[in-house]
Symmetry: C2
Subunit: 328 residues, 2 copies
């Protein structure tokens, strides 16, 4: 019996977001770099939480958001990531499976708690993230479900997955399985500081393993330590397609022979930029998996990003398939 074909399988750090408001003075006092993702230990997570305002709890994780977004667009999806069998872990599992995503990774029964990300949203709608990786450090190559990866047109990997040490191996194993099965591999560069932590390995990855590369301007220039145009030219020597977001200026989709500018979709009011890049990737991958032209992939990507920044959190509040139709 053959497994049903999936559009996209994502692998990432399985995280529950804890989101609250903060002002710039708070970020300064806490020594936070606005817009960045900083890794923290459990003690820091506790002390930071104690200084945080009233919060909301929502499933997150970069690839988790992308895959939930794909499911909301109507794609057939799977997810691989490690939670613990605790309250936050059950929330994460509930939300991703309720979105229609296959999530076969068993929860850890001991070891660190389910990962959480303390997200501070400033009045400019920018999000600043502090991640306690918790159970994510226990994602191992054996969690990479070979049948699941082989069944998916695209395997999507988040750069953040390089932070938990064992997960890198899982990352490589997944890419190898996907390519061996004649499938495509996509990578998101995740965060400028993450790129700086793993620059050489990410370049090597892009060169050898990656077909579709997602990044924002800061990440791709950090990867190649050069200006935007040069970075993009270098990227498309390595990968088939590079899709690079530029905030309100939209995005650029590039191949070896072509560059297309995509406008950002209008948003009445930007509330929280959490998940903007993740959902851009969701929309783009949806188009790719369905064989749409690149400009169309970019249009769906922009719409998915527009929905996500119009409310708190990185998971769609309304079915994205409906949102895309309503805004087309």
């Amino acid at each position: 019996m053959q497994a049903e074909e999936l559009d996209v399988v994502g692998i990432g750090n399985a995280i529950v977001d804890i989101i609250a408001h903060a002002d710039d003075a708070f970020l300064a006092r806490q020594g936070m770099e606005k817009g960045a993702m900083t890794l923290i230990d459990e003690a820091r997570a506790e002390s930071l939480y104690a200084s945080m305002g009233p919060a909301m709890q929502l499933s997150g994780g970069s690839a988790g958001n992308t895959i939930a977004g794909l499911a909301s667009l109507g794609a057939r999806t799977g997810y691989i990531g490690k939670v613990k069998d605790d309250a936050l872990g059950r929330i994460f599992r509930h939300d991703i499976t309720a979105a229609g995503v296959r999530f076969p990774t068993p929860a850890a029964s001991d070891g660190p708690a389910t990962a959480r990300c303390l997200i501070f949203v400033t009045p400019d709608a920018q999000r600043t993230m502090n991640t306690y990786l918790g159970a994510c450090v226990n994602l191992s190559p054996t969690d990479v479900d070979e049948t699941l990866i082989r069944s998916a047109k695209i395997t999507y990997l988040e750069g953040y997955l390089y932070d938990p040490p064992q997960a890198q191996e899982a990352f490589h194993r997944a890419a190898a399985i996907a390519h061996e099965a004649g499938r495509k591999v996509a990578l998101s560069l995740s965060d400028r500081f993450c790129v700086e932590r793993y620059r050489n390995r990410f370049r090597e990855l892009a060169d050898i393993h990656v077909d579709y590369l997602f990044a924002n301007e800061g990440e791709i220039t950090a990867l190649f330590e050069t200006d935007f145009d040069t970075a993009l030219s270098r990227a498309v020597k390595m990968v088939e397609i590079a899709a690079v977001t530029r905030g309100v200026e939209g995005s650029v989709v590039a191949t070896k022979s072509l560059r297309t500018n995509i406008e950002a979709a209008p948003v009445e009011r930007v509330i929280d930029t959490t998940g903007a890049g993740d959902l851009y990737a969701a929309g783009f991958l949806f188009g790719l998996a369905r064989g749409r032209p690149l400009a169309e992939c970019g249009r769906v990507a922009s719409l998915a990003a527009a929905e996500i920044i119009s409310h708190y959190g990185g998971r769609p509040e309304i079915p994205l398939a409906e949102y895309v139709v309503a805004h087309s």
Copy 2:
């Protein structure tokens, strides 16, 4: 040494809300009464959660929302309610104390888990609630902090508190302490079905213990089993002030000698009515505690309700003090 004077102390079921979208067909299949609060046991909570879409987790509880709203308006507040020392209990405690509320009630170290309310929001923005009371059943009269109650101008009680059996005693003890200290007692009728469960006792309460009564149209007509005008007349024979909300038609504030109609504050888009009544009470009590005229109390009440229905959940997303100023 005298305790600092508080404006309002609230006593209620300490609950974390789990909020998701649902359509009318889902409510029908599950046999839910739209707009009502239904008590469920843990097994039902589990099976209902399994059938629920991706959700968000936010602190809730009727009096908890009211007190957090009061704190957000700038009031000095306290809260009494029972959580367990578990993940949801820590979320509840974090959020209410981060809002600036004193919350001296110790968490239960064993017994049922922290209460949760599964809230289904339909496309008409109406919320339908299913509450597993969990640790709330362990709120006892000894949890009623006498010093806290005596220090507050107003003690605010939610009708839902009649559901956990021991809590009724806590309820009566709090009212007795407040009045003995020359303070005021406010009651919210909470829910039409809750009124039907405890009609005679609520009437007796209103007659003997309550100075300020909060209700919506359905609740006050259920309490007196008569039409709105007659119900309101009967209410103000018992209490000093009755404030009754009527949805988009605004509210009516009545005393023995006066009735004032208050317009609902405009909202660009109603997203979720969870907490509308709770925040109306918050705004009204804020005005009362600060000695404002009734029309002004009603105006602040309407604005606080408007803020809460413009997003998911029953806790303010932005400081209500700022919201009121910006919309005045």
